[in-house]
């Protein structure tokens, strides 16, 4: 049996595509700096932060795809699924928001604003997680 199964290929395809995207983004940024379109120091910071935002969005997108076996789910499986889908949406939107903030906002505004975006996303997910845990304890 080949180690390079279609399942392994499938699971590697998305991260590899994302890595390629990040590398091309860095290349495009370098080119923009060479052409004098942007200040190099600012550009490096912006590209780094936009990449972090896109990484957040990428992780958020795949959250609902990571399933635990049903026997290991401690609360109502439908509520667990709803929580996963919802947190996926929250992180995807937060990641895109983070990237957009670093792409367009002035540097002194981008730092606190992007932190606010991530903070709100984290608070929303934690609040829902606590609610889910409480519902699970009540049911048990």
């Amino acid at each position: 049996m080949s180690l390079w199964s279609s399942h392994a290929a499938k699971s590697l395809r998305s991260p590899l595509l994302f890595a390629g995207f990040v590398l091309s983004l860095a290349g495009a940024a370098k080119l923009a700096a060479r052409l004098g379109l942007m200040d190099e120091a600012d550009l490096a910071r912006r590209v780094g932060m936009v990449t972090i935002g896109l990484l957040l969005a990428f992780i958020g997108n795949s959250i609902p795809k990571t399933l635990a076996p049903l026997s290991e789910v401690r609360c109502d499986p439908s509520k667990h699924q709803a929580f996963q889908r919802w947190s996926g949406w929250v992180w995807l939107i937060a990641g895109l928001g983070y990237a957009v903030v670093w792409l367009v906002a002035p540097l002194d505004v981008a730092a606190p604003l992007s932190m606010l975006v991530v903070g709100v996303a984290m608070a929303l997910v934690l609040a829902r997680l606590v609610r889910l845990k409480r519902a699970g304890q009540r049911a048990a």
Binding site: N61, I63, P64, K65, S78, K79, Q81, R85, W89
Partner: protein, 108 residues
């Protein structure tokens, strides 16, 4: 990605995904919602599984299906559903518009 589009192109498969949005369901429970034979339903489940949109798990003697859609696949399903609804509404509107014309033609 073409597998995902193929899976979403069928209304029965879209309905299966809609039902699974409510939570995991057994194959029998899902099949009860459709007036089709079990082999047909199994074929639909296979297409959805192949596209990576659902996952099957054995629980005793039953097979439980659950959603395995990424956020973007979920958004794509929502888009297809909206587009489908719009097409159905436009078709119904067009059909309503044609009926009086036919009636007029019948009178003359």
């Amino acid at each position: 990605m073409d597998r995902v589009f193929k899976a979403l192109s069928d209304p029965t498969r879209r309905r299966v995904l809609e039902l699974l949005h409510g939570g995991p369901m057994s194959a029998g429970e899902l099949a009860d919602h459709f007036p089709v034979s079990k082999p047909t339903m199994s074929a639909h489940f296979a297409v959805l599984q192949e596209a990576g949109l659902i996952e099957a798990e054995k629980a005793g003697r039953t097979i439980v299906y659950r959603l395995r859609m990424s956020v973007l696949e979920d958004a794509l399903l929502g888009f297809v559903k909206t587009f489908d609804r719009q097409l159905t509404m436009n078709g119904a509107r067009r059909a309503r518009g044609r009926r009086p014309q036919r009636a007029l033609r019948g009178e003359s």
